[in-house]
């Protein structure tokens, strides 16, 4: 039955519209775009008015869903699953408003040749920040398209040189209950931690994101640096990372330690593996009224299916 009412949230009054319209058109046209040092150079603060910058050069073919229309900045920054601040998605933005993201150190350690601590400034100098328009599929049965800014995790791992024994990558969020009220709750084993297999971490799609919509990462989206693994459910994409550790064991993850039967280590988007609460067969794209079928690997099979050849993905959910 096609009797949906249009329920798109009208954000025209809140969002500086020209910026986004411009950006959307440019993303549709270009896809992955190199915006070298843009963030560092502009030194923009979140919330600051920003002119729509022009694409510098094109670095690759559109393989990342760039043709899809991105959700609005308003939607992306006011509907956040970030339990460190609140379990209420609409409250995160307010609670994270004054979160201090500078200075910020990212410690990369474990089974690597060159363990190092990087500041955000180091990272933005070392790597070319690209725009990647990725689909994000939340395990709760909704999805968005987000124009992230960031660089491939593989680049950072290449710098620290994983030792032959390294098999997995373990990620740790910051633990700061003074600034993150949700971390005062003992109902969750803080700090948040996540993990990837090394080959998953080295895949070119795996992004360390430092911004979105051409701006530095908003606090409520995981500032100053977060992971984005677009073929896995959103909770794998850990926010506000302070530590990346190369290890030889499969790391514990926060959600699978709470409910191992619901959240596996892999947590690849998979319409054939059901969840006791939310639909994994279909999803609602935020801003749309109906439902659309969920795609295997969130539609990134071409890029990532090789990682799981011969594996039973129903067993390894």
């Amino acid at each position: 039955m096609d009797n949906y009412r249009s329920i798109r949230v009208d954000t025209a009054e809140i969002t500086p519209e020209p910026v986004y319209i411009n950006r959307r058109m440019f993303m549709k046209a270009v896809g992955v775009t190199s915006l070298a040092g843009l963030l560092a150079a502009c030194g923009l603060q979140p919330g600051e008015e920003q002119p729509a910058e022009q694409p510098q050069n094109q670095t690759g073919p559109d393989k990342t869903g760039a043709a899809e229309e991105a959700n609005t900045f308003e939607e992306i920054t006011n509907f956040n699953n970030y339990y460190e601040f609140s379990t209420d998605k609409t409250e995160v933005a307010g609670l994270a408003k004054d979160f201090k993201t500078s200075p910020w150190n990212l410690f990369v350690s474990g089974l690597v040749e060159n363990p190092a601590t990087y500041t955000m400034e180091d990272l933005l100098k070392m790597f070319t920040v690209e725009e990647r328009n990725y689909r994000l599929r939340c395990v709760e049965g909704w999805s968005m398209v987000i124009p992230w800014m960031g660089f491939s995790l593989a680049g950072l791992l290449d710098k620290v040189k994983p030792l032959p024994g390294a098999k997995f990558v373990r990620f740790l969020s910051t633990f700061d209950p003074e600034q993150m009220p949700g971390q005062k709750s003992r109902l969750y084993p803080w700090p948040y931690q996540e993990g990837l297999r090394l080959d998953e971490a080295m895949n070119q799609l795996t992004l360390l994101a430092t911004g979105l919509y051409g701006r530095p990462m908003p606090n409520q989206n995981g500032a100053p640096i977060r992971l984005v693994v677009p073929w896995k459910y959103g909770f794998k994409s850990i926010k506000s990372i302070v530590k990346i550790e190369l290890v030889d064991y499969q790391p514990e993850t926060l959600w699978s330690s709470i409910a191992p039967n619901e959240y596996g280590f892999y947590s690849n988007v998979n319409p054939d593996v059901s969840h006791p609460r939310w639909s994994q067969a279909s999803e609602r794209r935020i801003g749309e009224a109906g439902r659309r079928p969920t795609l295997m690997f969130n539609g990134y099979g071409e890029e990532v299916a090789y990682l799981y050849e011969g594996m039973d993905l129903k067993e390894n959910y």
């Binding site: 949230v9 109902l187 409910a259 059901s274 609460r277």
Partner: protein, 231 residues
């Protein structure tokens, strides 16, 4: 005076219930229901139904424990409003969210126990709402009370439905469990005071307190001594 106060309190309940619905519709059309409005609307109507069901279950104990006889007059309307919001809750889920797409729905139903529990609760509420009229009360006689004891089961099921729909494990006290736990505790206590032995203890304690503090002494206070038969 008694009936005036009753009318007044009933009017308040009507106003609260309908404004809750009005407020939801207002938020829906003014884009104030998060970026995922259908989910927010589903959750809100479900929460209203849950609260109203618990309120309905609280009436009898209010009389048993505090001698507030008038509370018994609110049971039916609170139960009916719980039913109304439960129906809206289900219709939003099936109609607006899934767009009556039985293919999508069926795929999901097969794996989601919380939906089945919710559906069972709704079936019970439907049965009770349908037989809530005086006519049915007379027609069913003793069986009416037996039938309407199903509300106790509905109370337990609705909490289970709520807890299972949340990210967390109530028994392990991990995850999003505070509210399911609180509602579970409330329902458990409200059902507990209905057990004859517990009820007698509670009423005996109330009589003791009344004697000790001479509660009913002042004229014009509530008629604590008009003890009625507890259903």
């Amino acid at each position: 005076m008694y009936s005036k106060r009753l009318t007044f309190l009933k009017a308040i309940i009507h106003v609260i219930a309908w404004s809750a619905l009005g407020w939801l519709i207002w938020d829906y059309y003014s884009g104030n229901l998060t970026a995922n409005p259908l989910q927010a609307a589903t959750q809100r109507t479900g929460k209203y139904a849950l609260i109203l069901l618990v309120a309905s279950l609280a009436c009898t104990p209010l009389n048993t424990l505090f001698g507030w006889k008038m509370s018994l007059k609110f049971r039916r309307m609170l139960g009916l409003y719980a039913f109304m919001f439960a129906v809206i809750h289900m219709l939003i889920f099936v109609g607006l969210d899934y767009g009556f797409n039985w293919n999508f729905l069926w795929q999901d139903l097969a794996s989601k126990r919380y939906i089945w529990v919710g559906l069972l609760t709704l079936i019970i509420l439907t049965l009770l709402a349908a037989t809530s009229f005086q006519w049915w009360m007379r027609r069913l006689g003793k069986n009416w009370k037996r039938l309407h004891r199903l509300i106790y089961l509905a109370g337990g099921l609705v909490v289970l439905h709520y807890a299972w729909s949340k990210k967390g494990d109530v028994l392990a006290l991990q995850g999003d469990v505070i509210q399911p736990f609180a509602f579970g505790l409330a329902v458990a206590l409200l059902l507990l005071v209905r057990i004859p032995a517990v009820r007698q203890k509670a009423t005996a304690f109330r009589s003791y307190l009344r004697l000790k503090f001479n509660w009913a002494a002042a004229p014009g206070t509530r008629r604590a001594d008009t003890r009625i038969k507890i259903p």
